[in-house]
Amino acid sequence: MPSIAKPIAQHPSLKKNNLGLTVRDYEGTMSTLCAGCGHDSITAAIVRTFWELSTPPHMIAKMSGIGCSSKTPTYFVSGAHGFNSAHGRMPAIVTGANAANRELIYIGVSGDGDSLSIGLGHLSHAIRRNVRMVYVIENNGVYGLTKGQFSASADIGSKSKRGEANRMSPIDPVMLALSLGATFVARSFSGDKEQLVPILKAAFSHRGLALIDVVSPCVTFNDHVGSTKSYLYSRQHQYKATESDFVPPASEIVAHIGSANGHISEATSVTMHDGSVVKFRALPDGYDPTDRQKVFSYLQERQGKGEVPTGLLYLDESVSDVHELNNTPDSALTSIPFEKLCPGNAELQKMLEDFR
């Protein structure tokens, strides 16, 4: 824990976004994580993303479970709503919150322990339901809060701090999500904000659950030689499978098309539900980020070579989200008068009568 809160002193050239807020206005309280934790870097990327998107802080709901990762919502956007739930239950809580108020912007921050062990079932069903949220897995391969035991994402052969190798096969959240029918699947690295921020921006425009697996080294228990989740290993094995730009709706598109990256082919652009566009540049030959099968086999092939492919890997804007599937009203249930939402016992009896 730092000795002081972050000084209020600001750089004189600090810019303001469309809401008149500076990036400092999207910060939270001081992190109590270890110095150098990848999670803090992801927090900084989230702060930057919200600021660049000019998201009103009061429209954000920060959701989490238990673990180092799940502490981090405290460290960004102090002015947002939040719910720190039981271990692994974050996806269930978001599903409920989202059902009641679809107008909030949900970001769930979880870890490999929280999501791939105790909460795996909840994660799977949130993906199945396509709950509209950004689901960040801060993936470091260990249980940091309990002193560094292997988690379910630890690779076979990856060594613990004391030199012991992991022998159980890992759950790969990206492959898992693809197999469960996820509609937005990405992987990034905490040490690469240039990649992570555009992915986060695209994720907030996605009409369903956007899963981002972020390799986030545990500087205390998993940053040594022999670990496959260290800073050095991640840098050496990170393979940028795709590179993408996020172009928000409205006038900014013009500026982007006119930019030096004029060679972007329209064929690899995906238009999001809200009118924004994800432009893929530098895609490998034959890679189609909208073809689940091809992405699946591509990732299998690359990972078989020991690489960690990163980028916005799969994107499908055609699938309905939980509200469309359930035919709920357009506005938040919370804004519907109680009498209408709950018509009373008489109506219930009438309904039951129909089933007799």
Binding site: K6, S190, G191, Y231
Partner: protein, 598 residues
């Protein structure tokens, strides 16, 4: 971009903007911390080591440190009140007589003449007396201090303060000879091993306009102030015009108010942005009701029957850069007295031109900028006498440098010989997230000096207007200092590029970026580094990606969070302790820029 050479003491010295800007390189952050700890005497002595006159300068310094202060570049835009805090140290110190250097009873046999008893001569004596030199000081007036006594009114600098600090030097055993103007340098040179000319710039500039010599009510500013200091004058007419708008003009107008003047106007040729006076001196004068008129060029003195009636001025209109003017009209302003404060000149009628001292085309002695020696070996110049009017703090620095040269000259060493600046970097880490300095940023605004009210301050000439900081004001002001001497020092080979320092920095100083030239890099940092006066600290290529760690020094608040969030101590906070050589600096600290870890 080449990795920054942090082995060069100048690099980290420059980060301490105040210390770098001070001609004598006073260790400002260190003495401010001492004041914060209540160590006033230590703070005073640390000041004295470099600037010799902390109590005097704490009231009168030109403060080159303050416009340089990093705090002034942050949002609020106001520097730390460094000068006021210097006075706090002086006001609260204990008896320092035991702390002054011992003066050897057995002299080294070398005799030095100092001409004039102003700040530069006194500094020479201060530096040479402890080494066993005999110093003889010739002063034309009956009291010492030079312009500090004659030109700075006692409502700004009380006589007692001046006497004490000047006395500290004279009491080292200086052979001071009052009322002894030097009429001939030739008569002096053979009796001494070296001569230091610190006679100031004693001749006020004249304004030779019609009517100038038809009355005795037109005064030269510095001469008039001197007459007040020696109590030769105690009145002035009710209507006074001051010509010129430098600091002497400010002293003249404020003195006029205390001598019976009622309607005081300061007449400036150019717009306010081009005034020479320090902003705070202008403020103080205007607070007292002095009127400052811009764009008025003196045309003639109006004298009728030998009696001054006033002056005619041309009203001017300037172009945007205030280079060219056109005359709008001519106006008359009545005056009982006119005081000319339009500058000073050096004058050396008492230096024979056949002594081997070369004079330039402006009839000024040619003085070496490093050694302060004239073209005749053994004769040195300093203070205003060297290159015209500057200020006290520069005079002190001249004195220090001249003393080194004089010592070299007397010991048969080349006068140009100078010891290098030494540097120590001292770790400040006391534990995890624990530093030996107060690293939190304090958002207090600059504390305002309280003044004696506008009735009581005029009751006597010598009522000091500035009351000084209260204990509460001091406590707030010391915490505004950013501790720029606690340097952020980077060791590239330890960095794992986790971005923690970049994410935590409140003022976006840090960036990890691909290599490029400096101009290119300045444009692609976390925040643009537009202030090219401030260095960009570039690391060696980082181990994992060969990118560079870059720090824009411009607005770093030295909070130490980069070092606290660094998991590998690649960033560390180290205090720079500079050794600025003076005469008598015998054992230099070794230059040790590699961080030392316990």
């Amino acid at each position: 971009m080449k990795p920054t050479n942090v082995h060069d003491p100048d690099y980290f010295h420059k980060v301490v903007d105040c210390q770098w800007a001070c001609p004598t390189h006073t260790n400002v952050p260190e003495y401010i911390r001492m004041i914060a700890q209540g160590r006033y005497t230590d703070a005073y002595m640390l000041n004295r080591a470099s600037n010799v006159f902390p109590a005097i300068l704490g009231r009168t310094c030109d403060r080159p440190c303050e416009p340089a202060c990093r705090r002034g570049r942050l949002e609020e835009g106001k520097p730390v009140a460094i000068c006021r805090l210097k006075r706090v140290a002086a006001d609260n110190k204990d008896d320092i007589s035991e702390l002054l250097p011992a003066i050897p009873k057995v002299k080294n046999g070398k005799r030095i003449a100092c001409i004039g008893a102003g700040p530069s001569s006194l500094t020479v004596a201060n530096d040479l007396m402890p080494l066993g030199y005999e110093v003889v000081m010739f002063e034309k007036n009956s009291k010492p201090g030079g312009l500090m006594r004659t030109n700075i009114p006692s409502f700004r600098l009380p006589e007692g303060v001046l006497d004490e600090e000047v006395g500290n030097i004279l009491n080292m055993g200086v052979d001071i000879r009052y009322s002894s103007p030097v009429g001939s340098l030739k008569a002096l040179v053979n009796d001494f091993d070296a001569v230091f000319v610190g006679s100031g710039a004693p001749r006020g500039k004249n304004l030779d306009l019609p009517g100038r010599f038809e009355t005795d009510r037109i005064h030269l500013g510095i001469d008039w102030l001197e007459s007040i200091a020696f109590e030769h004058v105690d009145t002035i007419g009710e209507k006074v015009l001051i010509i010129g708008v430098g600091n002497t003009a400010m002293d003249c107008c404020r003195s006029s108010l205390r001598m019976g003047g009622k309607d005081i106007k300061v007449m400036a040729r150019r717009p306010r942005a081009y005034f020479k006076a320090s902003p705070w001196e202008l403020e103080d004068a205007e607070e007292e009701g002095v009127e400052i008129l811009i764009n008025h060029a003196p045309k003639r003195f109006v004298v009728e029957n030998g009696k001054l009636k006033g002056m005619e001025f041309e009203r001017l209109e300037w172009d945007a850069e205030a280079k060219k003017s056109t005359v709008i009209d001519t106006i008359f302003l009545p005056a009982d007295d006119v005081i000319l404060a339009i500058g000073q000149d050096n004058a050396f009628p008492w230096i024979e031109r056949d002594l081997g001292i070369e004079f330039d085309k402006w009839d000024m002695p040619v003085v070496n900028k490093v050694t302060y020696e004239s073209s005749r070996p053994g004769i040195f110049f300093g203070g205003d006498a060297a290159w015209g009017p500057k200020n006290i703090i520069w005079a002190v620095e001249h004195g220090h440098q001249a003393a080194i040269s004089i010592h070299n000259h007397c010991q048969g060493i080349a006068t140009s010989e100078r010891l290098p600046v030494g540097m120590k970097l001292i770790p400040q880490k006391m534990g995890i997230s624990e530093w030996s300095y107060h690293n939190d940023f304090n958002p207090s605004s600059r504390q305002k000096m309280t003044h004696v009210d506008l009735v009581n301050r005029f009751k006597q000439l010598n009522v000091e207007v500035e009351i000084g900081y209260s204990a509460e004001q001091t406590a707030r002001e010391v915490q505004r200092c950013l501790n720029c001497d606690i340097e952020t020092v980077f060791t590239a080979k330890r960095c794992i590029e986790c971005d923690a320092c970049i994410d935590i920095c409140p003022v976006l100083c840090l960036t990890i970026a691909r290599d490029g030239d400096e101009v290119d890099l300045r444009g692609r940092l976390s925040a643009p580094a537009a202030n090219v006066e401030q260095s960009l600290y570039a690391s060696e290529p980082l181990p994992q990606t060969k990118r560079l760690m870059l720090k824009d020094e411009d607005v770093c608040v030295h909070c130490g969070l980069c070092a606290e969030r660094c998991p590998t101590a690649a960033w560390d906070m180290l205090k720079i302790d500079l050794s600025i050589p003076q005469v008598g600096t015998i054992c230099l600290q070794p230059s040790n820029p590699e961080p030392v870890h316990a």
